[in-house]
Subunit: 220 residues, 2 copies
């Protein structure tokens, strides 16, 4: 039986370090610009610097970390760069939505529907995760793993700067409605509608973020 058993209590490896640090960044727990040293991270996870170095090299390749004077830091991005990231994300996700409307299987639909239902009841961090999962499921429904991975990677970079408020109830309801509309278009196999509905959704998210950046910019 060559089934690889994930030993939960076993010593953590480089992949685990990569996953954990990545999650910390994506969930916004590492403030951009704050430098973290290899030794510091190694001590934190109770391993030597070797696996940390490996993880950091991969994170740098992902664009989630950059090498700075001493140590690594989440790159500080200008508002223009955030807009640029959104532009890339929009290109990828709209294409994925279009393909999803053409290729979605019944299983894809079931997954999306399940996530929509879960989102109805969830709140806080759970809601954020479910909504992220909805977008990932939509990308998977396009049945092009390369495309899905690219979109997911760009979104991870964006997430690193998001204060992740998602608090306002009206935003919550808007998001839910827009997701539902995208789902309906995918369900009806209507690529053009899927694209335009998702475009409306992502454009709204982008404009909210840009407005927040403008406020933060004025304050500083």
């Amino acid at each position: 039986m060559a089934a690889r058993i994930e030993n939960p209590a076993k010593h953590i490896g480089a992949d685990d370090i990569y996953t954990r640090i990545r999650r910390r960044i994506v969930e916004g727990h590492v403030t951009p610009g704050l430098t973290l040293g290899e030794a510091q991270l190694a001590a934190e996870y109770g391993v030597s610097r070797t696996p940390v170095r490996n993880a950091l090299a991969r994170l740098e390749q992902d664009g989630l970390f950059e090498r700075v004077r001493f140590g690594y830091a989440v790159p500080v991005r200008s508002p223009e760069q955030v807009v640029e990231l959104f532009e890339a994300r929009i290109i990828l996700d709209l294409a994925a939505a279009e393909l999803a409307a053409q290729r979605r299987s019944e299983l894809d639909l079931a997954r999306l529907r399940h996530l929509l239902e879960q989102a109805e009841a969830a709140t806080g961090a759970d809601l954020i995760h479910i909504n992220d999962a909805f977008h990932d499921a939509l990308r998977d429904a396009a049945h092009n793993p390369t495309l899905a991975q690219l979109a997911s990677r760009v979104e991870a970079q964006l997430a690193a700067y998001e204060a992740r408020p998602a608090g306002a109830p009206d935003d919550r309801q808007s998001t839910q409605d827009e997701h539902r509309r995208v789902f309906d278009a995918v369900h009806d196999r209507d690529p053009a509608r899927a694209r335009s509905e998702l475009q409306a959704h992502v454009h709204r998210a982008r404009d909210l973020r840009i407005a927040a950046l403008a406020r933060a910019d004025r304050k500083s």
Copy 2:
């Protein structure tokens, strides 16, 4: 004087290893499926395993290498996967062409024109490099580095499987004509035309590759 001087004769570092191995893969000098060991590569470049490990981790993140039993290998892709990579590349490059037609600067135009002229005279490997550079310059003209990097990365994955014939004189002339048409559309600031001209170009390249894959498939 904080200018970082690239000492040419100095010992090579992890970044150099990364660049060199990457070039070897992209230029097709590493046959897919052949496994290379860390120690082997380290000996080849005259360094220890440490920088090689770092480079391999990054290459794996790029999708150019995958960890296999013992060592690393360029992943073997099915024809379906190659089609999938092309689909992603087309999405990215068409979007880039559209943006390039909107945003190109005079400098961008000059660069593209220069590459077109160079391509007239070049042959063999030089021609391949110049044509690749044309596509990269087109992506740069879109003025979205994120998008350019993504497209470039996907194309690198595709290049790893290309036998890189580019030999047939009629293909050479077709490529040159199509590049010229794309250039004209970008010059005229006509996004829709830039998109459709590039689409025709990339679709032809894709179909050629698929035909070659079908032949190879039948042979085996």
